[in-house]
Amino acid sequence: MIKTSLEIYNRYLIKIMMVSLIIVIPFSLFIYFSMYYMYDYLEADQYPNLYIFFIVLNFICIVPMYRKLTTCDIDGEEEPTVWELVKVFFEHFGMILLISLPLYIIAVVGVALAFIPTAISGGLLLVFPFFIHDLNFKEVLRQTGSILKRENIFIFLDLIVVASTQILIYSLLMQAFASFESNIYVYGIMRAIVNACIFPFLIFYLTQRYSLEE
């Protein structure tokens, strides 16, 4: 599966770069700067959970675009144009916000219960964007549940892979900037570029894992 995702990455490199320039990099920059703004201006009461929710959204919102690219490639359909991919992002933004907000609130509240609700809703948060394209709302939930039943414990392995690759590559790249006098903009732009490079690969891999292997 890793080999196939590398091939897809290679084949659509120009398209991925265009989509990154139009959507992924501005979106990541916006989320990073809004986190910084909130951290700076809300002095009285901080919301650390809100910042983590922003980071989660940053990954989740980008999933439907690259999922469409992957399925079009593997099913042998006509390859989508950049404009179609951008439109997919705008169409599914509201639905993703609607589903992920309650799930995230459950995850935050469930920390008191020995992290069990947190783990379950973390798995749901990772899986549901891959089925958001389905027009029927009930079908989205059903397919998410079936994947959760099939993969059960290995979902958490995927979750760890997604989180740790980002942290690893980000910290490795930060070593290069450690000796300079860097400011907030350098870190933000670095973060956005790392997102643009890694997310397509992760999403190609996860799409093949979830939606195509029946």
């Binding site: 916006f30 909130m38 809300l42 009285a44 009461d45 919301y47 809100l50 705008f90 169409e91 599914h92 933004f93 509201g94 639905m95 993703i96 916000l97 609607l98 027009l135 709302f137």
Partner: protein, 124 residues
């Protein structure tokens, strides 16, 4: 039939447009505070008025009304929970807020429907 997915899409796209617009306005410091609030209001609820009839062909006005109410309530909740402004302490402001946003959205939706009808008539 009321199309739930179109309704959610409307709110999402309107949120994105509001974010982008207010980010640009704030980043380049283009206008004074009053004007930036006013134009943000026009952009966000105007986009709701345009997109709600577009994705809810059968119940355009109800969709526009409901989207405007939901967006206003979201604004109020955000200002209460995150910014700690006690909005609900003054009922007049809430009333004015709901009234102005729904009226403006319905107006834009009505205009959009009229223009759309005329274009379709010209095509046929």
């Amino acid at each position: 039939m009321f199309n739930f997915r179109g309704f959610i899409q409307t709110i999402g796209v309107s949120l994105i447009i509001t974010m982008v617009y207010s980010f640009i306005i704030g980043f380049f410091n283009l206008m004074s505070v009053e004007w930036s609030i006013f134009t943000t209001f026009i952009v966000s609820y105007g986009s709701v008025g345009v997109f709600a009839p577009l994705w809810n062909r059968q119940t355009p006005y109800f969709a526009a009304f409901l989207s405007a109410v939901v967006l206003t309530v979201l604004n109020l909740l955000f200002s209460i929970i995150v910014l700690r402004i006690q909005v609900l302490a003054k009922p007049d402001i809430v009333n004015e807020n709901l009234f102005s946003s729904t009226t403006f959205t319905m107006l834009i939706a009505f205009l959009f429907m009229q223009i759309n009808k005329r274009i379709e008539r010209k095509k046929s």
